[in-house]
Symmetry: C2
Subunit: 185 residues, 2 copies
DNA sequence: CTAAATCTGTGCGTTTTTGCACAAATTCAC
DNA sequence: GTGAATTTGTGCAAAAACGCACAGATTTAG
């Protein structure tokens, strides 16, 4: 971060944004399999060639897109490492809200199940960092079991909230989930 | 039109669109005099250099912008030359509605008075084409006087409708103004 | 009024985007 | 299943956008 910050060329930024947005849009209209590079190129109003300048193929595009958001979430986790779950969740849920269209399509039925997997993996990874089994109420439990147990729980709540169209206020969900986690971890 | 239709490069189109939109936006925020090329470049998210690749300066930009819309209106007039005013006006007012942000800023207080002048000039020009003084109710009247009389009237109605925020339905205004014109020209 | 800051217009070399063409792969329609 | 149509991935050369630097004009602040 501090080491290399070669600012991205404005054109690159714009092209990638257009491509990603077009892709997300298309994901909400048809399944991943039926999206063609051509479609993306048309929708993004970008030369087909340009897409290949940035991504290997649509799988790569999807990967990069997922990875990018996971990385953003990872950063948020770092910056919130000193907070309680209840507090940190607020930041998380804000991010979900801001990038609603992405998470919505990625978690919806048509969306790539790939994302759910990556997401759970990441959540487990993050929980792993702070989980302490040597003392407290979780003493003696299997690390793996605890991580998967709460990891899946978190993912489920986020998914439900997103696919329900954000029907409940972010801060309410964040606080309640935070309460459950702070009580257990 | 039929002769040369060298399709515009996608990048050119996008840059110019961004620049024009940024400019229109800025026009609604501050007066023309206070808008800098820098502002436009920032707002449009386009290199300052790029603006100079397309326009001499902000005056040129304004000119081109105005000219472009006037030309569009001219095309509409041609395609509607066989219609009555009541009918043709519908097409006109649709165009105004579609490009509301442009006309709105151009006719608003802060907008460049330059536009009003160009616009009136154009309307007169168009009326001139079809005006026949050799017969009918306008026999014997001064051509110039008739043109300016109704030209100004038309501009005024359009201006009032636009600056009033399109409070009345386009088709109503179009039809009523059409009635007045069909009765007189 | 003066100094600092900002904006302007332009030259220049670099990077990115683009369209086109093409062969191979895939999908679609019948 | 076969043939037509579409999509894919890539090479290439031209066009556009870019950032930077600079000197001069203009604006802003004290």
């Amino acid at each position: 971060m501090i080491i290399k910050m070669a600012k991205i060329d404005r054109r690159v930024q714009k092209s990638q944004d257009a491509i990603k947005n077009a892709f997300i849009e298309l994901m909400s209209e048809k399944s991943f399999d039926h999206i063609t590079i051509q479609d993306i190129s048309d929708r993004a109003n970008v030369g087909r060639r340009t897409i290949y300048d940035h991504y290997m193929d649509k799988f790569d595009l999807l990967d990069k897109l997922i990875e990018e958001h996971i990385n953003e979430l990872r950063k948020l986790c770092e910056s919130a490492s000193e907070l309680t779950f209840a507090e940190g969740n607020m930041i998380w849920f804000e991010y979900f809200e801001q990038n609603y269209s992405f998470f919505s399509t990625m978690l919806s039925s048509k969306g790539a199940p790939a994302f759910r997997k990556s997401f759970l993996e990441f959540v487990v990874e993050e929980l792993d960092i702070d989980l302490d089994l040597t003392e407290g109420i979780n003493q003696g439990l299997s690390r793996n079991l605890v991580l998967r147990f709460f990891g899946a729980a978190i993912v489920e709540i986020v998914e439900a909230w997103i696919t329900n169209g954000l029907s409940e206020p972010a801060d309410v969900v964040a606080r309640q989930m935070g309460q459950l986690l702070d009580r257990n971890l």
